[in-house]
Subunit: 199 residues, 2 copies
């Protein structure tokens, strides 16, 4: 199986097979340079009309002293308070302002989309989710462990980190080097035949 894939087995392990959601982290900091490298890599992955609605707020340890993380669900509070870096990932419904720059073939979509906030919200959430997927792979490509979480009060987290409004928080991702007992037992994946059909 492995040799059908064009990338080496150890890269396959790093990005997918051996990559796991980390639940504890060491104190080793994650540098700005590392996060920038992740972004400069994954920014190239595709979104519809190249809209790129993902926005990221990075929360570093000094500031974390002032963040209660009370809006995270119970099981996510402790690990989020101790990760060296927490990334709050959101979809920005104001993405249309950038369209003339990022998608010149349809520059007029900026005006058309300005009229339909619900359509924009849906596009921001869907394409933002694609980019969350790319971002998680990118964190792993940087040799870091990612702990993506969906258990939080999305409105409260949006209010704290995107006070200007218009953002849907999609995921909160703890990032760092895995600490002791970082992994829970791995849960099973669906079989190929449960997922893929050929017609």
């Amino acid at each position: 199986m492995t040799d059908v894939v064009a990338i080496d087995g150890d890269v396959q392990d790093l990005l997918f097979r051996a990559a796991r959601t980390a639940n504890t982290f060491t104190d080793e900091p994650v540098s700005d340079e590392q996060v920038r490298a992740v972004y400069e890599l994954v920014k190239w992955a595709p979104t519809a009309m190249n809209i790129q609605p993902l926005r990221v707020v990075l929360v570093r340890s000094p500031r974390r002293a002032n963040v209660s993380w009370n809006h995270m669900s119970e099981g996510n509070k402790a690990k989020t308070s101790t990760a060296p870096l927490v990334a709050v990932l959101a979809g920005d419904s104001g993405f249309h302002e950038h369209i003339p720059h990022v998608y010149p073939p349809r520059a007029a979509a900026r005006e058309n989309l300005a009229e339909v906030p619900e359509v924009r919200a849906r596009m921001a959430t869907f394409n933002g989710a694609l980019q969350v997927g790319y971002f998680i792979v990118g964190v792993r490509a940087a040799g870091l462990a990612a702990g993506p979480m969906g258990g939080f009060d999305a409105e409260a987290v949006a209010k704290e980190f995107f006070p200007g409004g218009g953002h849907q928080v999609l995921a909160v991702v703890n990032i760092g080097k895995p600490g002791p007992d970082a992994w829970r037992p791995r849960n099973p994946r669906l079989d190929y035949d449960q997922v893929v059909t050929t017609v």
Copy 2:
């Protein structure tokens, strides 16, 4: 920048930097073994509660003679009719049936989610979108070009390929080796500082 990332520059190129949405394809077929290898790799990437709602229908050339692709938007028809393989990607709102198997810590969620179809639809779309992102990266990891498309009549495509209902079609992806003039000009990406903020 490049050497902060733990994977080689040529792998970074293959998966992200040099990877492009292909608009034409050669006749070279994509084998079942290749698609299986992609799935067996990307199935490990994370979803909330490990729900894995992505479902894939593969449409191969012989059958394509009987698929009109009239439900694709105008600019997507020709390339979809000539790709050696087309993958129709959907989120399955019936994912909760698998929860006792894929997420034993919360087996009871199967019953709770059975009551709330709107919540399931939202979870299937969001987590399905994450998996669409992983799938695109996986196709590229197999050395194949992917042409993901969002321009189609989602209800009509769902009716044709998921006639049982309960599926939201998220993307249609052409897959193969790039043909002549496969690439359009690359559109710009947002700068790091437009996307990432540190608090």
